[in-house]
């Protein structure tokens, strides 16, 4: 339909700035020419993370632009959502408690420049991930002068 109008992402500038997906390729088993071959899940295993957290389901997504009229500076980054809902209100103080060490990691701690680097990160920790499609605005070429363009005599029903 209007596929060419969709903003092609990542933009060239961002692609140059972001680290190349080379480390991601190194992680996959196929890259045998790498000096050290890292199997999926290995980093997680040696890092001392409890085993139950190495078999998590995570969602890789790119946060949508805020609905309020802010600029688009923070759009285009990728995040990992740990689908962590183990929270409760502490009965003593009313504070929020959580039993999940990853509860606040995805939101605040991890940001990736591309879906690939987020995937590589999830792979080396052995997480079972799903990548959600990113929705980008449909850009329509408009010009201010169009508003004053002569479109022929007004139609009878419009008058």
């Amino acid at each position: 339909m209007a596929a060419p109008l969709r903003r092609s992402l990542p933009s060239l500038g961002r692609a140059l700035l972001s680290p190349a997906p080379a480390p991601a390729r190194m992680l996959s088993a196929a890259a045998s020419d790498a000096l050290v071959e890292i199997k999926p899940g290995e980093i997680g295993m040696v890092s001392g993370i409890p085993e139950e957290h190495l078999r998590r389901k995570v969602v890789i997504y790119s946060p949508a632009r805020t609905a309020s009229q802010q600029g688009s500076g923070k759009v285009g980054r990728w995040k990992i959502n740990f689908v962590s809902t183990q929270k409760w209100e502490n009965p003593l103080m009313g504070w929020t408690s959580t039993g999940d060490p990853y509860a606040n990691v995805g939101e605040a701690g991890l940001t990736f420049d591309s879906a690939d680097s987020a995937k590589a990160f999830a792979e080396k920790h052995g997480w079972d991930y799903v990548v959600r499609k990113r929705h980008t605005p449909l850009l329509k070429p408009k010009s201010y002068a169009e508003n004053f363009k002569w479109r022929g005599p007004p139609k009878a029903e419009q008058a």
Binding site: P63, R65, Q70, H135
Partner: protein, 627 residues
């Protein structure tokens, strides 16, 4: 803020209004441009109060961002700031009109997208203000979007006012289930509580808008919730029990009834996983009576094209003649209505409507109230035929309310003959649509929950209601055992013998298919309430206690099973159109009755268990639906 310096231009140029020409030398970061922007910012802030610390927009405010980026480090304004009287726009939108910077985006939104001429600009110069002229509530089902549209804190959410700051909130990108559109939303939560719901962009479905029901139903998630499994004692009162006891009681009753007396009813908010589990469980118990509410006695589930919006929501913009049959899109699917309005505004598409008198926010022709008008069109005797004949991309949208009618088959075959006559279905264009009402409907028809509700409920001795509150329970035999599994203590709980608490859409991972056949997932944002469990897990546990264990025990297991029944339900974020045409259908013998079409949604703000429990929605129906 868009001021730039152009070489050989005596003054800074507004880049947003100036077309770039070859040979132009544009400088964006020079002292002249900076000074010019500072000047504009100073004018904007002249009459803007310095109340960011107590403003709900603070932290996600465009003016705040802009003044951080482009503003001066001091103000020179020592006079009195202007003050403007706050307007009452109803129970949803809070106004602090002194903060308004007169950008008029809300006026443009109201007139162009929402289609209500409520807001406008009054006065001139420093007396200029946004208002409704005579005091009037904003009577649009999309009015909440002006909160997002406002670049400052002049229009903010009334229910959210002073409840939380936006940087404390955790956003979870999920979808809405209060109607069949499946609008993309972000659920903002703080700790274990949903604080607000905001839209997120999806050009194919909801663009960047959501309806007021979607945006403000969230307080219903905190009220009337079912916490614990409960059993009704001999005295008629519910007693909280453990899961083990509750499931044992249900399983025991299940052993005593005959297989054909078991009926399962899925509710309108059910996800595909739970409906799959319910269907497998009831089938395993030896009954085939599983249905989803709202699908009528004889749902057209054989071909997907018979119950989906085949044109797709986005492609409605290509239509040039639209025939609405027995559907009131403004209340049934406000976002689809906004899309139709966009089409009408952009291309002057002709809209014709058959059904009871109702509100429209665009030009339309009311052809009639009953099926006779439809028959007249099918026979080519109606004046609207010439419009359909001359249109390139005609669209017919039938309401899902027609599923409940006796003469449903005849009606749909008449609609199909209209489609055939005016070339509505072609290889490059499918204009034959059904607009569904509930989030669960499409997936239920895909999975084959198609039993006849009246017959199966009348003969049921064991009725399993999975969040079904709107099925008529008058016909349930007095000695029937009713299990209600759901998240809200709504209508059906009054008849239930056992209550099994389950999680709401904001607390579970579920698959939903929207009216155009696009499969989407919800992602849990907050923990479940009390001892509630996910719907499919409850049925899985019950199946084991009842001795008919279902062959899956993980979400991926259920999804594998779904992929066997309806593979389109595992292709997430994809719209899978139907490939088989409806021409293979057998001929219909039935006659069209003369009963006029009925209004399906009486109250836009209260359609399901969540919205009926919501205080904000109750306020809306009390103030905004008053005629």
């Amino acid at each position: 803020m868009c001021l730039v310096e152009v070489e050989k231009s005596p003054k800074p140029v507004a880049s947003c209004a100036m077309p770039a020409l070859p040979g132009m030398k544009i400088k964006t970061n020079t002292p002249v441009a900076k000074k010019a922007r500072e000047g504009v910012m100073e004018f904007l802030l002249m009459n803007h109060p310095l109340d960011c610390p107590i403003c709900d927009q603070g932290g996600e405010c465009d003016l705040q961002d802009q003044s951080m980026a482009f503003g001066a480090d001091r103000g020179r304004f020592t006079e009195m700031k202007r003050s403007v009287v706050d307007k009452n726009l109803g129970p949803l939108v809070k106004t602090v009109m002194t903060r308004c910077i007169q950008c008029t985006r809300c006026v443009r939104f109201a007139t162009e997208v929402a289609g209500v001429q409520d807001l406008g600009m009054l006065g001139r110069g420093s007396g200029e203000e946004i208002g409704t002229y005579v005091e009037k509530l904003m009577s649009s089902e999309l009015s909440g979007n002006v909160i997002d549209i406002c670049p400052v804190g002049a229009l903010t959410s009334k229910p959210f006012a002073f409840k939380a700051r936006n940087w404390e909130l955790k956003g979870t990108e999920t979808i809405d289930v209060t109607d069949a559109v499946g609008s993309n939303i972000r659920v903002d939560s703080r700790g274990p509580e949903v604080m607000r719901i905001v839209p997120r962009l999806n050009e194919d479905i909801n663009e960047e808008w959501i309806s007021d029901k979607t945006r403000f139903c969230y307080d219903g998630l905190k009220r009337q919730r079912l916490n614990d499994p409960m059993i009704r004692g001999p005295d008629g009162r519910f007693k909280a029990v453990t899961w083990r006891d509750a499931l044992a009681v249900v399983a025991e009753v299940l052993q005593q009834v005959k297989p054909e007396e078991i009926t399962g009813v899925a509710g309108k908010l059910s996800d595909a996983e739970s409906m799959m589990a319910l269907k497998d469980f009831v089938n395993k118990m030896g009954s085939d009576k599983v249905l989803c509410e709202g699908n009528g006695p004889n749902p057209p589930a054989d071909l997907r094209s018979n119950y989906l919006m085949n044109t797709s929501i986005a492609r409605l913009e290509k239509a040039d003649a639209i025939l609405l049959v027995g559907t009131q899109p403004r209340v049934e699917a406000a976002i689809v209505n906004a899309r139709i309005r966009k089409t009408v505004r952009a291309t002057q598409a002709k809209v014709a409507y058959i059904g009871p008198p109702t509100d429209f926010n665009y030009d339309h022709e009311h052809l009639g109230t009953g099926p006779q008008t439809l028959v007249e069109i099918a026979e080519g005797r109606h004046s609207f035929c010439s419009t359909l004949q001359s249109s390139k991309n005609p669209v017919i949208i039938a309401g899902a309310g027609l599923f409940e009618r006796e003469d449903q088959d005849a009606l749909f075959s008449t609609i199909e003959s209209v489609a055939k006559k005016f070339n509505v279905v072609r290889p490059d264009w499918n204009g034959l649509n059904v607009l569904l009402l509930h989030a669960a409907q499409a997936a239920a028809l895909d999975l084959g929950l198609v039993a006849n509700p009246t017959e199966s409920i009348k003969s049921a001795k064991f009725l399993y209601l999975m969040g079904a509150d709107d099925v008529s329970l008058d016909k349930v035999p007095d000695d029937a055992f009713v299990v209600y599994q759901g998240h809200h203590g709504d209508k059906a709980v009054y008849r239930a013998n056992v209550i099994l608490p389950s999680s709401a859409f904001s607390e579970k991972e579920g698959t939903y298919e929207n009216t155009e056949g696009c499969t989407q997932w919800t992602i849990p944002a907050v923990p479940t309430v009390g001892d509630a469990r996910d719907d499919w897990k409850i049925i899985r546990a019950l199946s084991e206690v009842a001795g008919a264990q279902l062959p899956y025990d993980s979400l991926s297991g259920v999804r594998d099973r779904i992929s066997m029944v309806a593979p389109n339900l595992v292709h997430v974020d994809e719209r899978e159109p139907c490939t088989i045409s409806s021409e293979v259908k057998p001929p219909v013998k039935q006659q069209v009755s003369s009963t006029p079409f009925k209004t399906v949604v009486e109250n836009f703000y209260m359609t399901d268990a969540i919205t009926r429990a919501s205080k904000i929605m109750a306020q809306c129906s009390a103030t905004l639906l008053k005629k």
